[in-house]
């Protein structure tokens, strides 16, 4: 099982990466995937207080369960327009 993580803007700059695959365990939540992401990229920790999350292009709470093959996007505060 895997999850594709997508990073943007300041978060992508900090990680030096815009997309990666992580192994996924059945029943894992967004918060659990984020914890394992932070092990690999501890410099992303400072973004956690302001991040939102999207699973397959839909905003979700970090308690949402991540399905196999899903795309999890880390969304820093938006500034389009």
């Amino acid at each position: 099982m895997t999850v594709t993580v997508r990073l943007f803007a300041s978060v992508a700059d900090a990680a030096g990466c815009r997309r990666l695959d992580l192994p996924l365990t059945e029943g894992e939540t967004v918060a659990q995937v984020r914890a394992r992401l932070l092990e690999r990229y501890p410099q992303l920790g400072r973004f956690v207080p302001v991040l939102l999350y999207a699973l397959d292009e839909e905003y979700v709470a970090d308690t949402a369960v991540v399905p196999d093959g899903a795309t999890l996007a880390l969304i820093p505060p938006v500034s389009g327009g």
Binding site: F8, A12, A61, G80, G81
Partner: protein
């Protein structure tokens, strides 16, 4: 309905044509343009990043809501990404309606919602540095849908 995230130049005629209708008495067009300054600091240029698939999906949701709330006939929302020079258009919104009041109110509401909810980010580049703007428009959970607030 036209929604698009693109690296290409945004063309007003395209947005206007997309919302044309024989029932329309009013078309309102909004252009978000790259300004030469922000908060009294000189800006050299901007770089926009986006999550294009989700940005277009959220734009479609916002457009559907706007059409219902303001009795709009049609809407077009285009956002450009990549490096943008002073004077270039980053955001282009067109709405058509029977009468003028709805076109102004609907267009204004659309811009506000787009700036709050659509996953797009701007980086300001100055003479001596650069920074991703984490805008006052979206402070943490404010950008989440109502169901999550």
């Amino acid at each position: 309905m036209l929604v698009l995230v693109t690296e290409d130049e945004l063309r007003p005629e395209e947005a206007i044509a997309a919302v044309a209708s024989p029932r329309a008495g009013a078309v309102n067009l909004f252009l978000g343009v790259v300004r030469d300054h922000n908060k009294e600091r000189a800006v050299r240029y901007l770089v926009y990043d986006a999550y294009p698939e989700m940005a277009e999906k959220v734009m479609r949701e916002i457009v559907t809501e706007a059409c219902a709330r303001f009795a709009l006939l049609d809407c077009a929302v285009l956002h450009r990404t990549g490096p943008l020079q002073i004077g270039e258009t980053s955001l282009l919104i067109a709405v058509s309606s029977g009468h003028r009041a709805e076109s102004f109110e609907g267009g204004h509401w659309l811009v506000n919602e787009i700036k709050k909810r659509v996953p797009v980010w701007k980086k300001e580049v100055w003479a001596n540095g650069e920074e991703w703007v984490e805008g006052p428009e979206s402070l943490g959970l404010q950008q989440a849908p109502a169901s999550m607030r």
